[in-house]
């Protein structure tokens, strides 16, 4: 599929006045709720990975599924739907993160990268995890996005759609990141 440019504006499908909706005539709500059950956690984790707080992430997820509802109601393309959904989430999350940075500049002076563990996970936060965290923080931003999406189980074509990259770039990015992790693990 043709990868959209990374800087493309977020398209949220809303019917213009007089525009017909739901070509099939069916109500997409049950499907949207079923997809919410399936994708809410991965989407929220992805938003948190990008440095958003939980309420901000929840907001994004709500907006994503409202956008999906409108998208389906307008009878728009269902091709690579998960990639489309993560693309909307990615764009909204980056925008929200930028706003949050401005709002709480003092708190977010550092690149959020991968969030650290809460107190309850401290014990499990092994030296190996600390190394992984260091590698992640050192990765180019786009490589980190690829990894996070891969960690949420997205196929390469879905990652490509979400980030506006080519398929080849996704595999190159992931291979580069895992190689850095391997080297870090090897000392």
């Amino acid at each position: 599929m043709a990868a959209p440019p990374d800087s493309a504006p977020i398209e949220i499908a809303l019917p213009a006045r007089g525009e017909s909706v739901c070509a099939s005539g069916s109500d997409p709500e049950p499907e949207v709720l079923a997809l919410f059950d399936q994708w809410r956690a991965p989407l929220l984790r992805y938003a948190l990975s990008l440095g958003l707080r939980v309420p901000e992430g929840e907001d994004i997820v709500q907006e994503v599924f409202l956008a999906l509802f409108r998208h389906l109601r307008l009878g728009r393309s269902r091709r690579n739907l998960r990639g489309w959904v993560f693309r909307v989430a990615h764009n909204l999350a980056l925008k929200r993160r930028e706003e949050a940075r401005r709002e709480r500049a003092a708190e977010l002076t550092a690149e959020p990268a991968h969030p650290g563990p809460g107190p309850e996970e401290q014990l499990a936060h092994t030296e190996r995890h600390a190394r992984l965290d260091a590698v992640l923080r050192a990765l180019p931003e786009q490589d980190r996005y690829c990894l996070y999406l891969r960690a949420e189980g997205l196929r390469y074509r879905e990652i490509a759609a979400a980030l506006g990259m080519s398929l080849g770039s996704v595999s190159i990015s992931l291979a580069r990141s895992f190689e850095r992790m391997r080297r870090a693990a090897g000392g």
């Binding site: 949220i12 809303l14 019917p15 213009a16 006045r17 909706v21 109500d27 709500e29 949207v32 709720l33 919410f36 059950d37 809410r40 956690a41 929220l44 984790r45 948190l48 990975s49 939980v54 309420p55 929840e58 907001d59 994004i60 997820v61 709500q62 907006e63 599924f65 409202l66 956008a67 509802f69 409108r70 909204l92 929200r96 991968h114 969030p115 650290g116 563990p117 809460g118 309850e120 996970e121 499990a124 936060h125 190996r128 995890h129 992984l132 965290d133 990894l147 891969r150 960690a151 196929r155 390469y156 595999s171 190159i172 992931l174 291979a175 895992f178 190689e179 992790m181 391997r182 693990a185």
Partner: protein, 251 residues
């Protein structure tokens, strides 16, 4: 002999591990691995790396995820809201769609603080998330101040949405959440019944905020989106911020 073929690249091994290699190349790689211990070791190492990363990712995040039941119910309510607005929609900017979510959370957090009011001084977010036409600053500022009266048809719709009988219409002003002076649209999602009984945070106070925001936008000190969002999310909080006060300034 396969073992004598060129060794596969890290990228190829990763794609094979992820099931992303085309069938023919995957078959060739499997044949190579069967005969090449070094590459099997690389593949195993990569598998371990991927597994460890996945565990790390989940361990860092899963415990932070709240239960899905509340957000699911909220989504369901909002989908029902969107469905009932079918056909009457305007093209909203995505920023305002985002603002709707912010309002809901802000409302949940602030309802308990507003018990002293006879009625919330901010609208119910699921009914009035705010809506704006996609106007730019020049379009907004080229028109003089002043907002159009709300048509009777829209007033009736607003009362119906809030479950208020029209016999009580005198007790409320149907007000724009985002004023048309800042691009707010004459849409039922941008209107709510503001009770005259609110003596502190009332329509006059909100008017003062709208004037201030319009001045800032038209002088270039504030972007239009921020002004619209501030009105849509929590206009009282915005008032406090822009006027540096915790209570309305008498005019």
């Amino acid at each position: 002999m396969a073992a004598e073929d060129a060794h596969p690249s890290d990228r190829e091994i990763l794609m094979a591990a992820d099931g992303e290699l085309p069938a023919r190349r995957a078959a060739r790689l499997r044949a190579h691995l069967a005969a090449c211990g070094a590459c099997r070791a690389r593949m195993a190492e990569l598998d371990t790396g991927i597994r460890e990363f996945m565990e790390f990712h989940r361990a860092s995040l899963d415990s932070r995820l709240p239960s899905a039941s509340g957000p699911r119910a909220l989504l369901k309510a909002r989908l029902a809201e969107v469905s009932t607005a079918r056909g009457a929609g305007v093209r909203l900017s995505h920023a305002l769609v985002m603002a709707a979510g912010v309002v809901i959370l802000a409302m949940a957090a602030t309802v308990s603080m507003r018990n002293s009011f006879t009625w919330p001084a901010v609208p119910r977010a699921n009914l009035t998330p705010g809506a704006a036409l996609a106007e730019d600053r020049a379009a907004v500022c080229s028109v003089g101040p002043g907002q159009p009266a709300v048509p009777a048809r829209l007033r009736q719709q607003v009362f119906a949405r809030y479950g208020l009988p029209l016999t009580r219409a005198d007790a409320y002003e149907v007000d724009y959440l985002i004023t048309p002076e800042l691009g707010g649209s004459p849409d039922v999602r941008n209107l709510w019944p503001e009770p005259y009984a609110n003596i502190v945070w009332n329509a006059h106070v909100k008017d003062a905020l709208e004037d201030r925001l319009r001045d800032l936008v038209c002088s270039g000190a504030l972007d239009l989106y921020t002004a619209q969002r501030d009105l849509a999310t929590d206009w009282i909080a915005a008032y406090k911020r822009y006027f540096h006060t915790n209570k309305p300034i008498s005019r």
